[in-house]
Protein backbone atom coordinates (compact mmCIF):
# COMPACT_ATOMS: atom_id res chain seq x y z
CA UNK A 1 0.00 0.00 0.00
CA UNK A 2 2.98 2.27 -0.41
CA UNK A 3 1.18 4.34 -2.99
CA UNK A 4 -0.87 5.79 -0.15
CA UNK A 5 2.16 7.15 1.60
CA UNK A 6 3.13 10.49 0.18
CA UNK A 7 4.79 12.44 2.92
CA UNK A 8 5.66 16.11 2.60
CA UNK A 9 9.19 16.44 1.27
CA UNK A 10 11.01 16.84 4.53
CA UNK A 11 13.60 19.45 3.81
CA UNK A 12 11.52 21.72 1.64
CA UNK A 13 11.33 25.35 2.64
CA UNK A 14 8.46 26.80 4.65
CA UNK A 15 5.45 27.33 2.41
CA UNK A 16 4.63 31.06 2.59
CA UNK A 17 1.03 30.54 1.47
CA UNK A 18 0.34 28.12 4.33
CA UNK A 19 -1.35 29.30 7.50
CA UNK A 20 0.60 26.72 9.48
CA UNK A 21 3.83 25.26 8.24
CA UNK A 22 5.65 22.61 10.23
CA UNK A 23 9.06 21.26 9.29
CA UNK A 24 11.04 18.36 10.74
CA UNK A 25 9.58 18.76 14.19
CA UNK A 26 11.26 16.58 16.81
CA UNK A 27 10.90 16.29 20.56
CA UNK A 28 13.15 14.20 22.69
CA UNK A 29 12.97 14.05 26.46
CA UNK A 30 15.93 12.20 27.86
CA UNK A 31 16.37 9.15 25.66
CA UNK A 32 12.72 8.99 24.73
CA UNK A 33 11.70 10.32 21.33
CA UNK A 34 8.13 11.58 21.56
CA UNK A 35 7.87 13.11 18.11
CA UNK A 36 10.16 12.55 15.15
CA UNK A 37 10.44 14.52 11.93
CA UNK A 38 6.92 15.74 11.53
CA UNK A 39 6.32 18.05 8.56
CA UNK A 40 3.08 19.31 7.07
CA UNK A 41 1.24 22.44 5.90
CA UNK A 42 -2.25 23.69 6.67
CA UNK A 43 -3.75 26.07 4.12
CA UNK A 44 -6.33 28.78 4.38
CA UNK A 45 -9.91 27.65 4.85
CA UNK A 46 -9.18 23.96 5.22
CA UNK A 47 -9.91 21.53 8.00
CA UNK A 48 -6.83 19.51 8.64
CA UNK A 49 -7.03 16.27 10.58
CA UNK A 50 -4.24 14.99 12.74
CA UNK A 51 -4.97 11.36 13.26
CA UNK A 52 -3.30 8.77 15.38
CA UNK A 53 -3.86 6.39 18.25
CA UNK A 54 -3.61 7.62 21.83
CA UNK A 55 0.01 8.14 22.77
CA UNK A 56 1.14 8.66 19.16
CA UNK A 57 2.47 12.14 19.93
CA UNK A 58 -0.50 14.26 18.87
CA UNK A 59 -0.70 16.35 22.02
CA UNK A 60 3.08 16.74 22.21
CA UNK A 61 3.02 18.06 18.65
CA UNK A 62 0.17 20.46 19.43
CA UNK A 63 2.02 21.73 22.50
CA UNK A 64 4.96 22.53 20.27
CA UNK A 65 2.69 24.31 17.77
CA UNK A 66 1.48 26.73 20.45
CA UNK A 67 4.79 27.20 22.23
CA UNK A 68 4.07 25.28 25.42
CA UNK A 69 6.97 22.93 24.70
CA UNK A 70 10.23 23.77 22.98
CA UNK A 71 10.98 21.47 20.04
CA UNK A 72 14.29 19.64 20.19
CA UNK A 73 14.61 20.34 16.48
CA UNK A 74 12.47 21.70 13.69
CA UNK A 75 10.37 24.73 12.93
CA UNK A 76 6.79 25.86 13.40
CA UNK A 77 5.63 28.86 11.37
CA UNK A 78 2.17 30.32 11.86
CA UNK A 79 0.96 32.96 9.43
CA UNK A 80 4.56 33.63 8.41
CA UNK A 81 5.89 34.00 11.98
CA UNK A 82 8.18 31.51 13.63
CA UNK A 83 6.76 30.44 17.00
CA UNK A 84 10.19 30.47 18.64
CA UNK A 85 11.59 33.71 17.32
CA UNK A 86 8.44 35.83 17.07
CA UNK A 87 6.17 34.18 19.60
CA UNK A 88 3.79 37.12 20.06
CA UNK A 89 3.10 37.66 16.37
CA UNK A 90 2.67 33.94 15.78
CA UNK A 91 0.31 33.58 18.75
CA UNK A 92 -1.87 36.43 17.50
CA UNK A 93 -2.88 34.21 14.58
CA UNK A 94 -3.89 31.20 16.68
CA UNK A 95 -6.66 30.18 18.98
CA UNK A 96 -6.32 26.85 20.66
CA UNK A 97 -7.72 24.31 23.06
CA UNK A 98 -5.00 21.95 24.20
CA UNK A 99 -6.42 18.76 25.66
CA UNK A 100 -9.34 19.60 27.91
CA UNK A 101 -10.88 23.06 27.92
CA UNK A 102 -9.56 24.03 31.37
CA UNK A 103 -11.04 27.34 32.43
CA UNK A 104 -11.29 29.10 35.76
CA UNK A 105 -14.11 27.28 37.53
CA UNK A 106 -14.43 29.93 40.23
CA UNK A 107 -15.17 32.63 37.62
CA UNK A 108 -18.26 32.93 35.47
CA UNK A 109 -18.11 32.20 31.76
CA UNK A 110 -18.23 35.91 31.04
CA UNK A 111 -15.42 36.67 33.50
CA UNK A 112 -13.33 33.96 31.89
CA UNK A 113 -13.78 35.56 28.48
CA UNK A 114 -12.92 38.97 29.94
CA UNK A 115 -9.73 37.54 31.43
CA UNK A 116 -8.56 36.27 28.05
CA UNK A 117 -9.75 39.38 26.26
CA UNK A 118 -7.46 41.44 28.52
CA UNK A 119 -4.54 39.23 27.57
CA UNK A 120 -5.10 39.70 23.85
CA UNK A 121 -5.57 43.43 24.04
CA UNK A 122 -8.72 45.44 23.91
CA UNK A 123 -11.38 43.14 22.60
CA UNK A 124 -14.68 45.06 22.61
CA UNK A 125 -17.59 43.62 24.59
CA UNK A 126 -19.60 43.37 21.36
CA UNK A 127 -17.15 40.77 20.11
CA UNK A 128 -17.62 38.82 23.36
CA UNK A 129 -21.40 38.96 23.00
CA UNK A 130 -21.10 37.83 19.41
CA UNK A 131 -18.99 34.83 20.44
CA UNK A 132 -21.31 33.92 23.30
CA UNK A 133 -24.18 33.87 20.81
CA UNK A 134 -22.16 31.84 18.36
CA UNK A 135 -21.52 29.07 20.89
CA UNK A 136 -25.07 29.24 22.29
CA UNK A 137 -24.14 30.12 25.85
CA UNK A 138 -26.33 33.23 26.34
CA UNK A 139 -28.42 31.55 29.03
CA UNK A 140 -25.56 30.40 31.19
CA UNK A 141 -22.75 32.86 30.52
CA UNK A 142 -23.06 34.51 33.96
CA UNK A 143 -22.95 31.18 35.83
CA UNK A 144 -19.75 29.91 37.37
CA UNK A 145 -17.86 27.64 34.99
CA UNK A 146 -17.51 24.91 37.62
CA UNK A 147 -21.25 24.30 37.17
CA UNK A 148 -20.95 23.87 33.38
CA UNK A 149 -21.30 20.55 31.60
CA UNK A 150 -18.33 19.32 29.59
CA UNK A 151 -20.03 20.33 26.36
CA UNK A 152 -20.57 23.86 27.66
CA UNK A 153 -16.96 24.09 28.79
CA UNK A 154 -15.90 22.91 25.35
CA UNK A 155 -18.01 25.63 23.72
CA UNK A 156 -16.70 28.30 26.06
CA UNK A 157 -13.23 27.03 25.25
CA UNK A 158 -13.92 27.59 21.57
CA UNK A 159 -15.27 31.07 22.28
CA UNK A 160 -12.05 32.01 24.09
CA UNK A 161 -9.99 30.56 21.24
CA UNK A 162 -11.84 32.72 18.72
CA UNK A 163 -11.54 35.97 20.71
CA UNK A 164 -8.80 37.53 18.65
CA UNK A 165 -10.22 36.45 15.28
CA UNK A 166 -7.42 33.95 14.62
CA UNK A 167 -6.54 32.60 11.19
CA UNK A 168 -5.96 29.18 12.68
CA UNK A 169 -7.93 27.25 15.24
CA UNK A 170 -6.18 24.34 16.93
CA UNK A 171 -8.46 21.82 18.59
CA UNK A 172 -7.11 18.84 20.47
CA UNK A 173 -9.66 16.00 20.46
CA UNK A 174 -12.63 18.41 20.47
CA UNK A 175 -15.26 15.68 20.78
CA UNK A 176 -13.56 13.71 23.53
CA UNK A 177 -16.02 12.95 26.29
CA UNK A 178 -19.01 14.50 24.52
CA UNK A 179 -22.25 12.56 24.08
CA UNK A 180 -23.42 11.75 20.51
CA UNK A 181 -25.62 14.87 20.37
CA UNK A 182 -22.70 16.97 21.57
CA UNK A 183 -20.43 15.44 18.96
CA UNK A 184 -22.92 16.18 16.18
CA UNK A 185 -23.32 19.73 17.44
CA UNK A 186 -19.58 20.25 17.62
CA UNK A 187 -19.12 18.93 14.11
CA UNK A 188 -21.77 21.27 12.72
CA UNK A 189 -20.25 24.15 14.62
CA UNK A 190 -16.78 23.59 13.21
CA UNK A 191 -18.11 23.35 9.66
CA UNK A 192 -20.11 26.57 10.02
CA UNK A 193 -17.05 28.27 11.43
CA UNK A 194 -14.93 27.34 8.44
CA UNK A 195 -17.63 28.37 5.97
CA UNK A 196 -18.43 31.69 7.63
CA UNK A 197 -15.20 32.91 9.11
CA UNK A 198 -12.86 31.40 6.53
CA UNK A 199 -10.50 30.16 9.16
CA UNK A 200 -8.34 27.07 9.03
CA UNK A 201 -8.90 24.38 11.61
CA UNK A 202 -6.38 21.87 12.85
CA UNK A 203 -8.05 18.98 14.62
CA UNK A 204 -6.38 16.08 16.33
CA UNK A 205 -8.36 12.93 16.83
CA UNK A 206 -8.03 9.25 17.45
CA UNK A 207 -11.44 8.68 15.86
CA UNK A 208 -11.21 7.96 12.17
CA UNK A 209 -14.89 8.50 11.51
CA UNK A 210 -14.54 11.94 13.04
CA UNK A 211 -11.74 12.95 10.70
CA UNK A 212 -13.52 11.41 7.75
CA UNK A 213 -16.63 13.49 8.38
CA UNK A 214 -14.90 16.76 9.18
CA UNK A 215 -11.58 17.06 7.45
CA UNK A 216 -10.39 17.98 3.99
CA UNK A 217 -6.92 16.59 4.48
CA UNK A 218 -5.40 14.33 7.06
CA UNK A 219 -1.99 13.52 8.47
CA UNK A 220 -1.71 10.12 10.08
CA UNK A 221 0.86 9.62 12.79
CA UNK A 222 1.90 6.67 14.83
CA UNK A 223 4.69 6.22 17.38
CA UNK A 224 5.62 9.89 16.91
CA UNK A 225 6.25 9.47 13.18
CA UNK A 226 4.16 10.58 10.26
CA UNK A 227 2.79 7.89 7.99
CA UNK A 228 1.06 10.01 5.37
CA UNK A 229 -0.52 13.32 4.47
CA UNK A 230 -3.31 13.15 1.97
CA UNK A 231 -6.72 14.42 0.92
CA UNK A 232 -9.35 12.43 2.76
CA UNK A 233 -11.47 11.79 -0.36
CA UNK A 234 -8.43 10.79 -2.43
CA UNK A 235 -7.37 8.47 0.29
CA UNK A 236 -10.71 6.75 0.14
CA UNK A 237 -11.33 6.75 -3.62
CA UNK A 238 -7.82 5.64 -4.40
CA UNK A 239 -8.37 2.37 -2.70
CA UNK A 240 -10.08 -0.58 -4.35
CA UNK A 241 -13.70 -0.99 -3.35
CA UNK A 242 -14.84 -3.89 -1.32
CA UNK A 243 -17.92 -5.85 -2.29
CA UNK A 244 -19.91 -8.18 -0.09
CA UNK A 245 -21.87 -11.06 -1.66
CA UNK A 246 -24.71 -12.94 0.02
CA UNK A 247 -25.08 -16.07 -2.12
CA UNK A 248 -25.96 -19.77 -2.02
CA UNK A 249 -24.33 -22.10 -2.53
CA UNK A 250 -21.17 -20.46 -1.29
CA UNK A 251 -18.59 -22.89 -2.69
CA UNK A 252 -19.81 -22.63 -6.29
CA UNK A 253 -19.87 -18.84 -6.04
CA UNK A 254 -16.41 -18.81 -4.55
CA UNK A 255 -15.04 -20.89 -7.45
CA UNK A 256 -16.74 -18.69 -10.06
CA UNK A 257 -15.58 -15.43 -8.52
CA UNK A 258 -12.05 -16.71 -8.19
CA UNK A 259 -11.90 -17.20 -11.94
CA UNK A 260 -12.39 -13.50 -12.58
CA UNK A 261 -9.02 -11.82 -12.74
CA UNK A 262 -10.24 -8.49 -11.35
CA UNK A 263 -11.52 -10.06 -8.13
CA UNK A 264 -8.94 -9.96 -5.37
CA UNK A 265 -8.74 -10.96 -1.75
CA UNK A 266 -11.77 -13.18 -1.92
CA UNK A 267 -12.63 -14.46 1.55
CA UNK A 268 -15.56 -15.96 3.40
CA UNK A 269 -16.75 -13.69 6.18
CA UNK A 270 -16.33 -14.76 9.77
CA UNK A 271 -19.92 -15.86 10.15
CA UNK A 272 -19.53 -18.05 7.02
CA UNK A 273 -22.60 -16.66 5.29
CA UNK A 274 -21.09 -14.12 2.93
CA UNK A 275 -18.15 -13.60 0.63
CA UNK A 276 -16.16 -10.41 0.41
CA UNK A 277 -13.69 -9.37 -2.22
CA UNK A 278 -12.03 -6.33 -3.72
CA UNK A 279 -13.10 -5.47 -7.22
CA UNK A 280 -14.14 -2.54 -9.37
CA UNK A 281 -17.80 -1.69 -8.74
CA UNK A 282 -18.68 -1.69 -12.45
CA UNK A 283 -18.07 -5.43 -12.61
CA UNK A 284 -20.86 -6.18 -10.14
CA UNK A 285 -23.53 -6.51 -12.84
CA UNK A 286 -21.41 -8.77 -15.06
CA UNK A 287 -20.43 -11.06 -12.21
CA UNK A 288 -23.99 -11.22 -10.90
CA UNK A 289 -25.13 -12.49 -14.30
CA UNK A 290 -22.36 -15.08 -14.37
CA UNK A 291 -23.37 -16.33 -10.92
CA UNK A 292 -27.07 -16.47 -11.71
CA UNK A 293 -26.47 -18.26 -15.00
CA UNK A 294 -24.47 -20.91 -13.17
CA UNK A 295 -27.36 -21.57 -10.79
CA UNK A 296 -26.14 -19.55 -7.83
CA UNK A 297 -28.82 -17.63 -5.97
CA UNK A 298 -27.76 -14.04 -5.35
CA UNK A 299 -29.62 -12.68 -2.31
CA UNK A 300 -27.67 -9.50 -1.98
CA UNK A 301 -24.69 -7.53 -3.29
CA UNK A 302 -23.37 -4.67 -1.27
CA UNK A 303 -20.44 -2.37 -2.02
CA UNK A 304 -18.67 -1.73 1.29
CA UNK A 305 -17.30 1.79 1.61
CA UNK A 306 -13.71 1.67 2.63
CA UNK A 307 -13.17 3.55 5.86
CA UNK A 308 -10.08 5.20 7.15
CA UNK A 309 -10.10 2.41 9.68
CA UNK A 310 -9.30 -0.05 6.93
CA UNK A 311 -6.71 2.30 5.52
CA UNK A 312 -5.08 2.64 8.86
CA UNK A 313 -4.87 -1.09 9.19
CA UNK A 314 -3.14 -1.24 5.86
CA UNK A 315 -0.78 1.64 6.56
CA UNK A 316 0.34 0.24 9.86
CA UNK A 317 0.39 -3.35 8.76
CA UNK A 318 -2.68 -4.36 10.67
CA UNK A 319 -1.84 -2.81 13.99
CA UNK A 320 -5.16 -1.06 14.25
CA UNK A 321 -5.98 2.09 16.08
CA UNK A 322 -6.59 2.90 19.70
Amino acid sequence: MNRLINPVAEDTAIDPSAVLSVRNLCKRIGKKTLVENISFDVYEGEVFGFLGPNGAGKTTTIRMLVGLIKPTRGQVVIGGHDVRTSFRRAMRQVGSIVENPELYGFLTGWENLKQFARMVGNVPDERLHELVGMVNLEQRIHDKVKNYSLGMKQRLGIAQALLSRPKLLILDEPTNGLDPAGIREMRGFIRRLVDREKISVFISSHLLSEVQMLCDRVAIIQHGKMLTVSRVDELISSSVDKVEWTVTPMDTAELLLKQDEEVKELVVTDDGRRLTCRMPLDRISILTRVLVQSGVDVHGVRPVVVTLEDLFMELTGGEGIG
Binding site: I29, M91, R92, V94, E102, R118, M119, G121
Partner: protein, 330 residues
Protein backbone atom coordinates in the same frame (compact mmCIF):
# COMPACT_ATOMS: atom_id res chain seq x y z
CA UNK B 1 2.55 49.14 30.21
CA UNK B 2 -1.18 49.13 29.47
CA UNK B 3 -0.85 45.45 28.70
CA UNK B 4 0.94 44.83 31.99
CA UNK B 5 -1.75 46.65 33.94
CA UNK B 6 -4.39 44.42 32.32
CA UNK B 7 -2.41 41.30 33.24
CA UNK B 8 -2.06 42.58 36.80
CA UNK B 9 -5.80 43.21 37.00
CA UNK B 10 -6.40 39.63 35.85
CA UNK B 11 -4.18 38.23 38.58
CA UNK B 12 -5.77 40.35 41.29
CA UNK B 13 -9.23 39.34 40.11
CA UNK B 14 -8.28 35.66 40.28
CA UNK B 15 -6.86 35.91 43.81
CA UNK B 16 -9.86 37.92 44.97
CA UNK B 17 -12.36 35.52 43.40
CA UNK B 18 -10.54 32.57 44.91
CA UNK B 19 -11.56 34.24 48.20
CA UNK B 20 -7.99 34.43 49.46
CA UNK B 21 -8.47 37.89 50.94
CA UNK B 22 -11.67 36.75 52.63
CA UNK B 23 -9.86 33.77 54.15
CA UNK B 24 -7.10 35.98 55.54
CA UNK B 25 -9.62 38.42 57.03
CA UNK B 26 -11.56 35.48 58.46
CA UNK B 27 -8.48 34.07 60.18
CA UNK B 28 -7.57 37.45 61.63
CA UNK B 29 -11.10 38.17 62.84
CA UNK B 30 -11.25 34.82 64.63
CA UNK B 31 -7.74 34.75 66.08
CA UNK B 32 -7.15 38.36 67.12
CA UNK B 33 -9.97 38.34 69.71
CA UNK B 34 -8.43 35.18 71.14
CA UNK B 35 -5.04 36.85 71.46
CA UNK B 36 -6.66 39.96 72.93
CA UNK B 37 -8.50 37.88 75.49
CA UNK B 38 -5.33 35.94 76.35
CA UNK B 39 -3.47 39.16 76.98
CA UNK B 40 -6.35 40.59 78.99
CA UNK B 41 -6.28 37.52 81.24
CA UNK B 42 -2.54 37.80 81.61
CA UNK B 43 -2.84 41.37 82.86
CA UNK B 44 -5.61 40.32 85.27
CA UNK B 45 -3.55 37.46 86.69
CA UNK B 46 -0.53 39.69 87.24
CA UNK B 47 -2.63 42.27 89.04
CA UNK B 48 -4.15 39.58 91.25
CA UNK B 49 -0.79 38.04 92.03
CA UNK B 50 0.95 41.30 92.90
CA UNK B 51 -2.08 42.91 94.49
CA UNK B 52 -1.53 46.12 92.58
CA UNK B 53 -2.03 47.49 89.10
CA UNK B 54 1.21 49.46 89.21
CA UNK B 55 3.37 48.41 86.27
CA UNK B 56 6.56 49.33 88.16
CA UNK B 57 5.87 46.64 90.73
CA UNK B 58 5.18 44.14 87.97
CA UNK B 59 8.37 45.05 86.16
CA UNK B 60 10.39 44.86 89.38
CA UNK B 61 8.95 41.40 90.02
CA UNK B 62 9.87 40.35 86.48
CA UNK B 63 13.47 41.47 87.04
CA UNK B 64 13.68 39.57 90.32
CA UNK B 65 12.28 36.43 88.69
CA UNK B 66 14.84 36.63 85.91
CA UNK B 67 17.69 37.17 88.36
CA UNK B 68 16.59 34.13 90.35
CA UNK B 69 16.76 32.07 87.19
CA UNK B 70 20.18 33.51 86.42
CA UNK B 71 21.44 32.34 89.80
CA UNK B 72 20.32 28.81 89.10
CA UNK B 73 23.26 26.70 87.98
CA UNK B 74 21.26 24.49 85.65
CA UNK B 75 20.68 27.17 83.03
CA UNK B 76 22.74 26.88 79.81
CA UNK B 77 25.27 29.62 79.06
CA UNK B 78 23.49 30.91 75.97
CA UNK B 79 20.27 31.34 77.91
CA UNK B 80 22.19 33.01 80.70
CA UNK B 81 23.51 35.64 78.28
CA UNK B 82 20.06 36.18 76.84
CA UNK B 83 18.48 36.59 80.28
CA UNK B 84 21.29 38.85 81.42
CA UNK B 85 20.62 41.21 78.52
CA UNK B 86 16.91 41.04 79.20
CA UNK B 87 17.38 41.97 82.87
CA UNK B 88 19.60 44.89 81.97
CA UNK B 89 17.03 46.10 79.49
CA UNK B 90 14.12 45.83 81.93
CA UNK B 91 16.19 47.67 84.48
CA UNK B 92 16.79 50.40 81.93
CA UNK B 93 13.04 50.73 81.35
CA UNK B 94 12.48 50.92 85.11
CA UNK B 95 15.23 53.47 85.64
CA UNK B 96 13.83 55.73 82.95
CA UNK B 97 10.24 55.29 84.12
CA UNK B 98 9.04 53.86 80.77
CA UNK B 99 6.39 51.14 80.80
CA UNK B 100 7.29 48.56 78.08
CA UNK B 101 3.80 47.08 78.20
CA UNK B 102 1.64 50.15 78.59
CA UNK B 103 -1.96 49.04 78.00
CA UNK B 104 -3.77 50.20 74.88
CA UNK B 105 -4.57 49.00 71.39
CA UNK B 106 -1.35 50.39 69.88
CA UNK B 107 0.72 48.30 72.29
CA UNK B 108 -1.24 45.25 71.19
CA UNK B 109 -0.69 46.17 67.54
CA UNK B 110 3.05 46.34 68.22
CA UNK B 111 3.12 43.08 70.18
CA UNK B 112 1.10 41.30 67.53
CA UNK B 113 3.71 42.04 64.88
CA UNK B 114 6.59 41.23 67.23
CA UNK B 115 5.13 37.83 68.01
CA UNK B 116 3.71 37.05 64.59
CA UNK B 117 6.64 37.96 62.37
CA UNK B 118 8.33 34.59 62.77
CA UNK B 119 5.47 32.27 61.86
CA UNK B 120 1.95 33.65 61.96
CA UNK B 121 2.35 36.44 59.40
CA UNK B 122 4.41 34.21 57.03
CA UNK B 123 1.60 31.65 57.19
CA UNK B 124 -0.90 34.28 56.09
CA UNK B 125 1.49 35.23 53.28
CA UNK B 126 1.51 31.60 52.11
CA UNK B 127 -2.27 31.66 51.78
CA UNK B 128 -2.12 34.35 49.12
CA UNK B 129 1.09 33.26 47.42
CA UNK B 130 1.61 29.49 47.48
CA UNK B 131 -0.61 28.44 44.57
CA UNK B 132 -0.22 31.51 42.43
CA UNK B 133 1.69 29.50 39.78
CA UNK B 134 1.25 25.89 40.90
CA UNK B 135 -2.53 26.35 41.01
CA UNK B 136 -2.63 27.27 37.33
CA UNK B 137 -0.49 24.27 36.53
CA UNK B 138 -2.46 21.73 38.50
CA UNK B 139 -5.73 23.08 37.08
CA UNK B 140 -4.32 23.20 33.56
CA UNK B 141 -5.24 26.86 33.02
CA UNK B 142 -1.53 27.63 32.55
CA UNK B 143 -2.04 26.51 28.92
CA UNK B 144 -4.52 29.29 28.36
CA UNK B 145 -2.16 31.83 29.91
CA UNK B 146 0.89 30.82 27.92
CA UNK B 147 -0.68 30.43 24.48
CA UNK B 148 -1.61 34.12 24.33
CA UNK B 149 0.40 36.72 22.47
CA UNK B 150 2.13 37.68 25.72
CA UNK B 151 5.71 36.85 26.69
CA UNK B 152 6.12 34.39 29.52
CA UNK B 153 8.18 36.71 31.70
CA UNK B 154 5.40 39.27 31.56
CA UNK B 155 2.83 36.74 32.71
CA UNK B 156 5.07 35.76 35.61
CA UNK B 157 5.90 39.36 36.51
CA UNK B 158 2.21 40.23 36.70
CA UNK B 159 1.77 37.35 39.12
CA UNK B 160 4.72 38.49 41.21
CA UNK B 161 3.54 42.08 41.42
CA UNK B 162 0.04 40.88 42.34
CA UNK B 163 1.57 38.81 45.13
CA UNK B 164 3.54 41.84 46.34
CA UNK B 165 0.41 44.02 46.39
CA UNK B 166 -1.55 41.42 48.33
CA UNK B 167 1.22 40.98 50.87
CA UNK B 168 1.18 44.75 51.42
CA UNK B 169 -2.58 44.67 51.86
CA UNK B 170 -2.14 41.81 54.30
CA UNK B 171 0.23 43.79 56.54
CA UNK B 172 -2.20 46.69 56.45
CA UNK B 173 -5.06 44.38 57.42
CA UNK B 174 -3.07 42.92 60.32
CA UNK B 175 -2.41 46.42 61.65
CA UNK B 176 -5.94 47.75 61.19
CA UNK B 177 -7.80 44.68 62.44
CA UNK B 178 -5.59 44.21 65.50
CA UNK B 179 -6.04 47.90 66.38
CA UNK B 180 -9.80 47.89 65.95
CA UNK B 181 -10.37 44.63 67.82
CA UNK B 182 -7.87 45.22 70.64
CA UNK B 183 -9.26 48.71 71.19
CA UNK B 184 -12.55 47.28 72.35
CA UNK B 185 -10.81 45.86 75.41
CA UNK B 186 -7.73 48.02 75.94
CA UNK B 187 -8.97 51.34 74.57
CA UNK B 188 -7.79 53.07 71.40
CA UNK B 189 -5.27 55.46 72.94
CA UNK B 190 -1.58 55.14 73.39
CA UNK B 191 0.00 56.13 70.07
CA UNK B 192 2.37 58.53 71.75
CA UNK B 193 3.53 56.34 74.64
CA UNK B 194 7.33 56.44 74.68
CA UNK B 195 9.09 53.23 73.63
CA UNK B 196 12.79 52.56 73.96
CA UNK B 197 14.78 51.50 70.95
CA UNK B 198 18.41 51.38 69.88
CA UNK B 199 19.71 48.73 72.25
CA UNK B 200 22.97 47.31 70.98
CA UNK B 201 24.29 43.95 72.12
CA UNK B 202 28.04 43.72 72.22
CA UNK B 203 29.83 40.59 73.41
CA UNK B 204 26.84 39.32 75.30
CA UNK B 205 26.07 42.47 77.21
CA UNK B 206 23.79 45.39 76.60
CA UNK B 207 25.17 48.65 75.28
CA UNK B 208 22.70 51.42 76.02
CA UNK B 209 24.71 54.23 74.47
CA UNK B 210 22.38 54.53 71.46
CA UNK B 211 19.13 53.96 73.32
CA UNK B 212 16.55 56.64 72.68
CA UNK B 213 12.86 57.21 73.23
CA UNK B 214 10.43 56.89 70.35
CA UNK B 215 6.74 57.64 70.29
CA UNK B 216 5.01 54.30 69.93
CA UNK B 217 3.47 55.12 66.52
CA UNK B 218 6.95 55.57 65.08
CA UNK B 219 8.06 52.27 66.55
CA UNK B 220 4.97 50.54 65.15
CA UNK B 221 5.68 51.99 61.73
CA UNK B 222 9.21 50.59 61.86
CA UNK B 223 8.05 47.20 63.12
CA UNK B 224 5.40 46.94 60.39
CA UNK B 225 7.92 48.04 57.80
CA UNK B 226 10.13 45.17 58.87
CA UNK B 227 7.11 42.86 58.91
CA UNK B 228 6.30 43.93 55.36
CA UNK B 229 9.86 43.22 54.25
CA UNK B 230 9.84 39.78 55.89
CA UNK B 231 6.48 39.01 54.26
CA UNK B 232 7.77 40.00 50.84
CA UNK B 233 10.79 37.75 51.26
CA UNK B 234 8.68 34.81 52.41
CA UNK B 235 6.23 35.53 49.57
CA UNK B 236 9.08 35.56 47.02
CA UNK B 237 10.43 32.24 48.27
CA UNK B 238 6.92 30.76 48.21
CA UNK B 239 6.58 32.13 44.66
CA UNK B 240 9.71 30.23 43.60
CA UNK B 241 8.46 27.03 45.25
CA UNK B 242 5.16 27.55 43.42
CA UNK B 243 7.04 27.66 40.10
CA UNK B 244 9.19 24.64 40.90
CA UNK B 245 6.56 22.35 42.42
CA UNK B 246 3.40 21.68 40.48
CA UNK B 247 1.43 20.28 43.40
CA UNK B 248 0.11 23.00 45.68
CA UNK B 249 -0.03 20.64 48.65
CA UNK B 250 3.62 19.68 48.21
CA UNK B 251 4.60 23.33 47.79
CA UNK B 252 2.78 24.21 51.00
CA UNK B 253 4.55 21.38 52.78
CA UNK B 254 7.97 22.57 51.66
CA UNK B 255 7.27 26.12 52.80
CA UNK B 256 5.87 25.06 56.16
CA UNK B 257 8.81 22.74 56.80
CA UNK B 258 11.34 25.46 56.05
CA UNK B 259 9.50 28.05 58.18
CA UNK B 260 9.09 25.76 61.16
CA UNK B 261 12.69 24.57 60.82
CA UNK B 262 13.70 28.20 61.32
CA UNK B 263 11.67 28.39 64.51
CA UNK B 264 13.09 25.13 65.85
CA UNK B 265 16.66 25.99 64.95
CA UNK B 266 16.57 29.42 66.51
CA UNK B 267 15.34 27.90 69.75
CA UNK B 268 18.15 25.38 70.19
CA UNK B 269 20.79 25.76 67.51
CA UNK B 270 22.90 27.98 69.67
CA UNK B 271 26.08 26.08 68.97
CA UNK B 272 25.54 25.51 65.24
CA UNK B 273 26.10 29.03 64.03
CA UNK B 274 25.79 28.16 60.32
CA UNK B 275 22.07 27.85 60.89
CA UNK B 276 22.00 31.62 60.58
CA UNK B 277 22.20 31.29 56.77
CA UNK B 278 18.75 29.71 56.60
CA UNK B 279 16.25 32.41 55.72
CA UNK B 280 13.71 31.41 58.34
CA UNK B 281 16.19 31.89 61.19
CA UNK B 282 16.42 35.55 60.16
CA UNK B 283 12.76 36.46 60.23
CA UNK B 284 12.51 38.01 63.70
CA UNK B 285 13.70 41.41 62.63
CA UNK B 286 11.57 43.17 65.25
CA UNK B 287 13.71 41.56 67.98
CA UNK B 288 16.63 43.72 66.89
CA UNK B 289 14.39 46.74 67.19
CA UNK B 290 13.35 45.76 70.71
CA UNK B 291 16.93 44.95 71.67
CA UNK B 292 16.51 41.26 72.39
CA UNK B 293 19.56 39.15 72.11
CA UNK B 294 19.40 36.69 69.21
CA UNK B 295 19.85 33.06 70.17
CA UNK B 296 22.08 32.13 67.25
CA UNK B 297 25.43 33.83 67.42
CA UNK B 298 26.34 36.25 64.66
CA UNK B 299 22.82 37.46 63.91
CA UNK B 300 22.48 41.20 63.62
CA UNK B 301 19.95 43.43 61.92
CA UNK B 302 22.42 44.06 59.11
CA UNK B 303 23.20 40.40 58.61
CA UNK B 304 19.55 39.39 58.58
CA UNK B 305 18.55 42.12 56.14
CA UNK B 306 21.32 41.16 53.72
CA UNK B 307 20.61 37.47 54.15
CA UNK B 308 16.90 37.86 53.42
CA UNK B 309 17.58 40.14 50.45
CA UNK B 310 19.95 37.57 48.95
CA UNK B 311 17.41 34.78 49.46
CA UNK B 312 14.66 36.82 47.82
CA UNK B 313 16.78 37.86 44.84
CA UNK B 314 17.97 34.29 44.26
CA UNK B 315 14.40 33.00 44.48
CA UNK B 316 13.25 35.64 42.00
CA UNK B 317 15.97 34.82 39.48
CA UNK B 318 15.33 31.07 39.76
CA UNK B 319 11.57 31.62 39.35
CA UNK B 320 11.96 33.58 36.14
CA UNK B 321 14.72 31.49 34.56
CA UNK B 322 12.88 28.24 35.22
CA UNK B 323 9.45 29.52 34.21
CA UNK B 324 10.63 31.00 30.92
CA UNK B 325 12.45 27.80 29.87
CA UNK B 326 10.06 25.23 31.28
CA UNK B 327 8.30 22.75 28.99
CA UNK B 328 4.63 22.74 29.93
CA UNK B 329 3.95 19.02 29.76
CA UNK B 330 0.60 17.84 31.00
Amino acid sequence: MAEFMRLLFNELEKIYRRKRIAIVIGILVILIPMFVYAQFREVQTTVERLGTADWRVALQQQIIDSQNRLNSSRIPDEWRDWLQVRVEQLQYYLDHDVNPNAPGAPTFVRGFMENGIQLFIPLLVLIVSIDIVSGERSEGTIKLLLTRPVKRWKVLLSKYVAMGLLVSLLILLVGILSYVIAGVVFGYRGWNIPVLSGFVIENGSLNTRYVHLLPQWKYILMAYGLGWFVSLVVGTIAFMVSVLIRSTAAAMGVMLASLIAGGILSSFATSWTDAKYLYSVNLELTDYLAGQMPIVEGLTMGFSLVNLTVWALAALVISFVVFIRQDMLQ
